[in-house]
C-alpha cells in the first residue's frame, strides 16, 4: 500500500493540521464532514500503518469520537440553517408578490394614460412590457412594467425553491399543509421549534393577529382561523362547519410540527386521522347537521 492510499482517508492530514495549530477534534470533524474519495479502502489497517492509531481497536475508538462529533456539529448547523432559510425564502416570496402587485397597479395606471389597451394586473404589465416604447415617458412606463414582470418571475422562482426545500425541514407539516402554507406557519411562529411548542389554539389563529387583538379589546368576535384559512379543508368547508374544520386542522398541524421537530420522520397515522376527521365534518353538510358546540370538542386535541 502506498502513501497516497492512506492520504485519501479521513484521518490523513493530521500532521498538517497540528502544524497549523488547529484543534485536532475540529480538524477531524471537518474532514469527516467535507472529505471525499471515490473508493473505500481498508482504512483501519492503513491508519495503524500510518501511525494514526496503535491498533484497530484504537482506530475504531477515534473513528467513533470523530463521527459523533462531526455528526452532532453538522446536525446542529443544518437544523438551525434549514428553518431560518425557509423563513427568508417565504418572506421574500411574500414581499415580491405584494410589491409586484402594488407596482403593477402603478404601472397599469400610467400605461392606461399612454396606451388605450392597457390592462391591469401582472398580465397587463406583461403586455405593456412587450411594447415598443416611443419617447422618454413611454420608455419609462414600459420599463416599469418590465420590472413588475421580473418581480413576478422572482416570486415564482422563490415558490419553487420553497417547494423543494420545505419537505426536508418539516415533512409532515408540508404533507398536510402544502409547502407554502407550511413555510408561512413556520415564518409566523419564528421557526419550527417555536411552532412545535405552540398550543393548537394559537396555531389556529396564527396570521390573524389583528383580528385577535380586536377581539381581546372587545371590538370583535374571536377569529376562527388565521392563515390556515387558505387550506382547502377550511376554505372549502361550508361556513357553519369552518370552525370545526379549522380546529381539527390546527390540532393536526400542531402535532405534525411536533413530529417534524422532535423526530423528523413521516407519521402516516397523523394524515389518515385528519382525513377521517374532515370526512366526518364534511358529512354533516349532507345530513344537514349544524356545528357541534360544547365542552367536549373532538377537534380540540393537540392543545398543550
Amino acid at each position: 500500500m502506498t502513501d497516497t492510499d492512506a492520504d485519501a482517508g479521513w484521518f490523513a492530514g493530521r500532521d498538517a493540521d497540528e502544524a497549523a495549530g488547529r484543534d485536532a477534534v475540529d480538524a477531524a470533524r471537518d474532514r469527516i464532514a467535507d472529505g471525499e474519495t471515490d473508493e473505500p479502502r481498508d482504512w483501519p489497517t492503513l491508519a495503524v500503518d500510518a501511525g494514526f492509531a496503535d491498533s484497530t481497536d484504537d482506530y475504531y475508538d477515534r473513528l467513533r469520537e470523530a463521527t459523533v462529533t462531526a455528526t452532532r456539529a453538522t446536525v446542529r448547523e443544518r437544523e438551525r440553517a434549514d428553518d431560518q432559510q425557509l423563513i427568508h425564502s417565504v418572506r421574500a416570496m411574500e414581499d415580491s408578490e405584494r410589491t409586484a402587485n402594488e407596482l403593477a397597479e402603478r404601472a397599469a395606471e400610467w400605461a392606461g394614460s399612454l396606451f388605450d389597451d392597457a390592462e391591469p394586473g401582472i398580465e397587463g404589465a406583461r403586455a405593456v412590457a412587450a411594447r415598443k416604447p416611443e419617447g422618454e415617458l413611454e420608455r419609462r412606463a414600459v420599463s416599469l412594467a418590465a420590472r413588475v414582470v421580473d418581480l413576478a418571475a422572482e416570486r415564482d422562482a422563490l415558490a419553487e425553491t420553497i417547494d423543494r426545500t420545505a419537505p426536508a425541514v418539516a415533512p409532515n407539516l408540508v404533507e398536510m399543509a402544502g409547502p407554502e402554507l407550511a413555510a408561512r406557519l413556520i415564518a409566523l411562529a419564528g421557526g419550527l421549534e417555536p411552532l412545535a411548542k405552540k398550543p393548537s389554539g394559537t396555531v389556529q389563529v396564527l396570521g390573524a393577529e389583528d383580528a385577535l387583538f380586536a377581539h381581546l379589546s372587545g371590538r370583535a368576535p374571536s377569529p376562527k382561523h388565521g392563515i390556515i384559512y387558505t387550506h382547502d379543508y377550511v376554505r372549502n368547508t361550508r361556513p357553519e362547519d369552518r370552525g370545526s374544520a379549522a380546529r381539527a386542522l390546527a390540532g393536526k398541524l400542531t402535532l405534525a410540527a411536533r413530529v417534524d421537530h422532535y423526530s423528523g420522520e413521516r407519521r402516516a397515522t397523523l394524515h389518515e386521522e385528519l382525513r377521517e376527521r374532515m370526512a366526518t365534518i364534511r358529512a354533516r353538510a349532507e345530513t344537514g347537521d349544524g356545528e357541534i358546540n360544547g365542552g367536549a370538542d373532538p377537534d380540540a386535541e393537540g392543545d398543550a
Binding site: 473505500p40 481498508d42 417534524d260
Partner: protein
C-alpha cells in the same frame, strides 16, 4: 435458546410474556426489555421483519455493517448490538439527532450525516470489504442507491435491502415497481432471495443479494 437461522447475538427471548426477537443493549425506542435483552419489533424494522420471516441473511454476528437510511436508529441500534463495526448513514438532520442518542452507549456504531446517493462523500470514512450493506432509505431510486454502494461490499458480502413500492411510484402496482427495481439491481448484484414483507410492512419487498 439460540436459533440456528439467527445471527449470534440475536435470540428469541421471553419478554413481557411473549417470545420475541431480541438483542442485548440499551433500549432506544421504548421497546420492552428483560434481563438486559431488548425486544426487536419486526413491525418497526424491515430487517427485524426479514429475520422473523426466515430470510437467509448471511448474518452471523460480529460482522462489519454499512447501514443506509438509519433514521433515528431503531434498527441500526439492534444491528450494532450483535454486529461488529457498524456505519450508520442518514441524511436528514432531525432523525440523526436521535441516532446520536442511540450511538451514545454503543461504541462501535458510527453515525454519519450523509446522502446515500453520494458514496464518494463517505468512502473516505467507511472501510472497504464490508460484510453486509443494510438498506432502508424509502426514497425514489432505491435500486440506484444499492448499486452505488456496492463498492463497499466484500466479494461474498450481502446486500439486505427493503424496497418500498410507494417511494418509487405511489400509484403503480407494487409488483411492477419491484420488478423494475430488481431489474436494475441485477446489473450490479446477483439476487439470492426476495419475498414480500407484507406481514409486517405493507407493499415492501425484502431482497438478499450479493455483488456480481
Amino acid at each position: 435458546m439460540s436459533d440456528p437461522d439467527l445471527p449470534a447475538g440475536v435470540e428469541r427471548r421471553e419478554i413481557a410474556g411473549e417470545t420475541r426477537l431480541a438483542t442485548r443493549g440499551d433500549p432506544v425506542y421504548g421497546e420492552p426489555t428483560a434481563d438486559g435483552w431488548r425486544a426487536w419489533d419486526p413491525e418497526r424494522s424491515k430487517l427485524g421483519g426479514m429475520l422473523e420471516l426466515g430470510f437467509d441473511t448471511g448474518l452471523t454476528g460480529g460482522e462489519t455493517v454499512l447501514y443506509l437510511g438509519a433514521a433515528s436508529g431503531t434498527t441500526v441500534s439492534h444491528v450494532a448490538d450483535f454486529a461488529g463495526p457498524t456505519y450508520a448513514v442518514e441524511f436528514a438532520p432531525r432523525p440523526a439527532r436521535d441516532l446520536l442518542d442511540a450511538a451514545e452507549p454503543r461504541d462501535r456504531l458510527f453515525p454519519l450525516l450523509k446522502d446515500a446517493r453520494k458514496p464518494e462523500t463517505y468512502a473516505h470514512v467507511v472501510e472497504a470489504d464490508i460484510d453486509a450493506v443494510v438498506q432502508d432509505v424509502a426514497t425514489r431510486g432505491q435500486a440506484t442507491v444499492a448499486a452505488r454502494n456496492a463498492r463497499f461490499l466484500a466479494e461474498d458480502g450481502r446486500l439486505l435491502l427493503a424496497v418500498k413500492a410507494r417511494s418509487e411510484d405511489a400509484t403503480a402496482d407494487p409488483d411492477e415497481v419491484f420488478e423494475t427495481a430488481l431489474d436494475e439491481l441485477r446489473e450490479t448484484y446477483e439476487v439470492l432471495e426476495t419475498s414480500r414483507l407484507d406481514r409486517y410492512h405493507e407493499d415492501h419487498l425484502g431482497v438478499v443479494a450479493t455483488p456480481r
